[in-house]
């Protein structure tokens, strides 16, 4: 039961990733694209956590943790660029 639920959820999150990519590609403005990338990071966290549950391995939670930290920093850097151009000033 749980297995098939995870399978279905995984597929749906992956689909969401594909849709994020669609938004990223068409834009139209830069903030749209940055938002799309950030959402992709968040969806990746979901994929990793789900996959970890599927494999019954806690190691994937750490990868998810790292994606969270890194995704945040990446988005901050991109937003800072949007704001000021110069990200380290």
């Amino acid at each position: 039961m749980l297995n098939s639920v995870i399978q279905i959820t995984l597929f749906m999150v992956a689909l969401a990733l594909a849709l994020n990519l669609w938004r990223l590609c068409i834009g139209p403005s830069l903030p749209d694209r940055i938002l799309a990338l950030d959402t992709m990071y968040i969806n990746s966290i979901a994929v990793l956590v789900l996959f970890g549950m599927h494999e019954r391995n806690s190691l994937y939670f750490e990868a998810a943790l790292l994606v969270a930290v890194m995704g945040f920093v990446g988005t901050v850097a991109l937003s800072k660029y949007l704001l000021r151009g110069d990200i380290i000033e």
């Binding site: 920093v73 110069d86 380290i88």
Partner: protein, 945 residues
């Protein structure tokens, strides 16, 4: 041990003159003579043993793993050469004291001369062919420095370069020859090589070996057609010429002939190659010597001629010819060194070396004149002087040669002809310089005798010429006997050196040469005019133009492959890879192996689709740089997910961290660059790139598929099996990085640190124009550090650092390690830079990232060196388990310290690059110096072609 001391004494002595230079020039000269004097004493003390027919050996381990040991031998040949090298070296040291002007550094000359002496002694005393070559190369290098002693003169530099190029090339040939010999004999030891002489001569590669070894000898001894470097080496100070170009360096080549004689001589190849090269050199040198107006030029060509004579004698291959050749080496060294010194004195006192100006010196310096005349007569081969004796032997050997059948008469004929020239130029040296009227506008007038001690070395050498010439059996006979024994071994011939053999053919040949030479000199005016018309060309110009030509060719080739176009580099690299992959695929019998392909699941398929769209989108959108960067991040993200999916968590963690650092880095750079890439590449280039990229991608995919479907055992099994037992860690990736392949990692972090410092150096002081709006026309916001972001970032810092520590500490046993931890720490710090600014960070973190990066490398290296202390090889790791209260069982591996080094290097390097890229904008904000020009970078925007 004593043999080693003979070589080491001049080497240690080379440092002495620098210390005593300030105490006056005379003291400097004395101190420089100490080392060689002791060496001479050692040689004298061992002479009786050698004369008794013994050979001294000394063996010192040096590089045993390469079969290269400091194995020395002192036999008759080495002893004879040793006396020449050290004896004449000492005289040259005394002579140079008075020759060099006050402004020239004596210490530099003495140090180089002693180094040269060391190298020459090494050549003659090596018992190992490779060792001999090492010393051989040292003589080439030191002679380069000695010829270029007056490095501010263009002629000296060019002469030095020419000598180095020719003798260096010969040295390379010699190495090749030695390696071939080793392949036949199985050893570089001279004893083994001599013993295997028949084997070498019978081997199919004997001609190649012979030619290679002879090329080495001929270039060093200035044999035709390599003779051209020697006259140009005359731009050296005269003591150097007297030492290198009469007694030692140029004799190294003929020494090699003598040394290799037991192993290589005695064949037709040897006879024809060596004899005819020697003959051509002898005639060419003798002919040209007559026409040189430069005193040293005459002596240089005469040296070439005499070296040719010696070479020819070794080529004859008869026992007596070898004895004569060795004899002439001694004789030539004594009279030619004294002649060079005399020429130096004349140059010193008159300020010129042009024989058309220097005339009638007899009146001004009778003492020098007398000595020089005796030496010149020895060069001409006049009876009662040493040159006569060896020349007689040469004539007699030339007469007895029957190898050429009915054409054998050519040898005595040409020998006599060379003798005629030799007499002619000797007479010219005497008559032009010391008589022939009055001097013509000399730079220094009137000339007078040199300082007393400057002439002592000449007196000693000329005295030797006379002694050897009059009582040869009391002076030179034991040396000659011992040296010949060393070359010929068992087959020592019966010979007798005598001044008077009665009236025979050799004597008549000598007489003919004398008379012919005198007649030729009397006809000189016509001959000079003829020579000026026909045979004037400067080898230096030819040589330089060839050098410049090869430089131009190399430059053109470099320009072709390295034209500052990144596209060109990538295209060349990828094309090479495509060719390699294509070849591998072509030769494969079938693409798919027996291993089954796993099922395709929907989630992975979706991931693949996203990856492909991301990759294609990056290419399609690449004109909009930021959008392309975003899509590239998608690719990176999906790749990390794929790593997770296929159980490579270490790779995934690394990829994720690198991803963010890359984004930050690229955005820092993007700020200064145009938002849109202009469309520059034409359709043809785009088509080529699509083709290349497509071929590379498809090829890579196919070959991966092919490999993965083949059952094969990889090396990973070894690592999996040995990771815990050998490296003390369950995380194989980390154990490989810090333990199994620790040396690789050390190299990599070193490169990382160097790259970071290089980037720092490039960015330092750079000013760039700042863009005022983003790509879509929005003005920049006024608030540099939004408070919400700053507060959030500060909360995140300890958390991120904790994650980093966690990943680092457990790295040895679970995914993580120094590299990932370092990246996480860097990202956490970068976040503070982004949120709160450089100034804020600098107040709180006063590190200099350069030092951090370098100290990381240092820690890693020290960890590696640490294992030496315990007697293990570099970077051997150890580990043990200790029990800590509360924490429990804890493992401590020495690899952990290494990992700390990796961690610190990564943090230092990353921060160095990013923080300084960030600072770039600040320094560009500040008013720039009025003198600096606006920065523009043609390379960044320039297309290919």
């Amino acid at each position: 041990m004593m043999l080693l001391a003979i070589i080491l004494l001049p080497m240690i002595g080379a440092a002495v003159p620098f210390m005593t230079e300030r105490m006056g020039r005379t003291l400097c000269a004395y101190s420089a003579a100490i080392g060689p004097l002791i060496a001479l004493g050692l040689l004298v003390s061992s002479a009786p043993t050698i004369f008794g027919g013994e050979v001294l050996y000394s063996q010192t381990s040096w590089l045993p793993s390469l079969g290269l040991n400091l194995n020395l031998r002192l036999d008759g040949l080495s002893l004879m050469f040793g006396f020449l090298i050290v004896g004449i070296g000492l005289l040259v040291i005394l002579y140079a004291r008075y020759y060099l002007a006050q402004r020239d550094s004596l210490a530099k000359l003495y140090a180089l001369l002693q180094l040269f002496m060391m190298a020459m002694l090494g050549i003659v005393m090596s018992d190992n062919l490779m060792l001999l070559i090492v010393f051989w190369e040292i003589t080439s290098l030191v002679s380069f420095l000695l010829i270029g002693y007056w490095s501010n003169q263009s002629d000296a530099r060019k002469g030095a370069r020419m000598a180095l190029a020719v003798t260096g090339a010969g040295g390379l040939c010699l190495i090749a020859g030695a390696l071939l010999i080793e392949r036949i004999v199985g050893s570089f030891e001279l004893g083994a090589i001599f013993a295997a002489g028949d084997e070498i001569r019978a081997h199919s590669s004997y001609p190649v070996i012979l030619i290679l070894v002879l090329l080495g000898a001929f270039t060093k001894s200035a044999q035709f057609p390599f003779q051209f470097w020697l006259p140009h080496a005359m731009s050296a100070p005269t003591p150097v010429s007297a030492y290198l170009h009469s007694a030692t360096m140029v004799k190294a080549g003929v020494f090699l002939l003598a040394r290799m004689y037991p192993a290589l001589a005695g064949t037709e190849w040897w006879f024809y190659l060596v004899t005819f090269t020697g003959m051509a050199t002898m005639l060419f040198g003798a002919y040209n010597a007559l026409f040189k107006h430069d005193l040293k030029g005459l002596l240089a060509y005469s040296t070439i001629s005499h070296l040719g004579l010696i070479t020819m004698l070794f080529g004859f291959g008869t026992q007596l010819a070898v004895v004569a050749g060795i004899f002439h080496i001694i004789n030539h060294a004594t009279f030619k060194a004294s002649l060079f010194m005399a020429a130096g004195i004349i140059d010193h006192e008159t300020g010129t070396r042009d024989m058309r100006k220097i005339n009638g010196m007899w009146k001004y310096m009778p003492h020098t004149a007398l000595l020089a005349m005796v030496a010149a007569l020895a060069m001409a081969g006049v009876p009662l002087l040493n040159g006569f004796l060896s020349k007689e032997m040469f004539f007699s050997e030339a007469l007895h040669l029957e190898s050429m059948g009915m054409f054998s008469w050519i040898f005595p004929l040409l020998a006599t002809l060379a003798g005629v020239f030799s007499v002619a130029y000797s007479v010219r040296f005497i008559h032009d310089v010391f008589f022939n009227g009055e001097p013509i506008d000399l730079p220094k007038f009137p000339p007078h005798e040199p300082p007393r001690y400057m002439i002592v070395p000449v007196e000693v050498l000329v005295g030797l010429c006379l002694l050897v010439g009059i009582v040869p059996n009391l002076t030179v006979a034991p040396f000659l006997e011992a040296a010949s024994l060393a070359v010929l071994g068992e087959q020592m011939p019966e010979y007798h050196i005598a001044i008077w053999h009665g009236v025979n053919l050799p004597l008549i040949m000598s007489m003919v040469a004398m008379a012919g030479g005198l007649i030729m000199y009397s006809q000189r005016t016509g001959l000079f005019a003829f020579y000026e018309r026909k045979f004037r060309h400067d080898e230096k110009i030819v040589f330089e133009s060839r050098v410049q030509f090869s430089v131009r060719v190399a430059q053109r080739f470099t320009d072709f492959i390295q034209n500052n176009s990144l596209q060109r580099y990538m295209a060349l690299l990828i094309a090479t890879a495509v060719a390699a992959i294509g070849y591998a695929l072509w030769t494969m019998p079938q693409l798919l192996g027996p291993v089954a392909i796993s099922d395709i699941e929907p989630v992975s398929l979706l991931g693949a689709v996203i990856l492909i769209i991301g990759a294609f989108g990056t290419v399609l959108l690449h004109h909009n740089r930021l959008a392309a960067l975003l899509l590239l991040s998608v690719v990176g993200l999906i790749v990390s997910l794929i790593f997770v999916r296929y159980s490579a968590p270490d790779l995934a963690l690394t990829q994720l961290s690198v991803e963010v650092v890359t984004i930050v880095l690229l955005m820092l750079a993007l700020y200064f660059m145009p938002q849109l890439t202009p469309n520059e590449s034409g359709n043809k280039r785009v088509a080529r790139d699509i083709l290349l990229a497509g071929a590379a991608g498809i090829g890579m995919g196919l070959i991966t598929l092919a490999i993965l479907t083949q059952p094969f055992s990889s090396i990973s099994d070894y690592y999996l099996a040995n990771s815990v037992s050998g490296g003390g860690g369950a995380n194989v990736v980390n154990v490989i990085l810090v333990d199994f392949r620790g040396f690789d990692t050390l190299g990599e972090i070193t490169v990382l640190a160097i790259a970071a410092v290089g980037i720092y150096a490039m960015l330092n002081g750079l000013h760039l124009p700042l863009p005022q709006a983003d790509g879509e026309g929005r003005r920049w916001d006024k608030e540099p550090h939004p408070p919400i972001l700053a507060v959030m970032a500060r909360i995140l810092l300890p958390l991120a650092l904790m994650v980093s520590m966690f990943i680092f500490l457990r790295g040895h046993n679970a995914p993580g390690g120094g590299f990932i931890a370092g990246l996480v720490t860097s990202v956490a710090l970068i976040l503070q830079y982004v949120a709160s600014g450089t100034a804020w960070m600098q107040q709180r973190l006063r590190w200099r990232y350069r030092r951090v990066a370098v100290s990381g490398v240092l820690i890693a290296t020290l960890t590696g060196i640490g294992s030496w202390v315990f007697g293990y090889p570099f970077l051997t790791s150890t580990f043990s388990h200790i029990h800590w209260p509360v924490v429990g069982d804890f493992e401590l591996a020495s690899a952990m310290a290494f990992d700390i080094g990796v961690y610190i290097t990564v943090v230092g390097a990353t921060m160095l690059i990013l923080a300084h890229l960030g600072k770039l904008a600040q320094s560009s904000h500040s008013p720039r110096p009025a003198t600096s020009k606006p920065y523009s970078s043609p390379e960044l925007t320039k297309g290919e072609d």
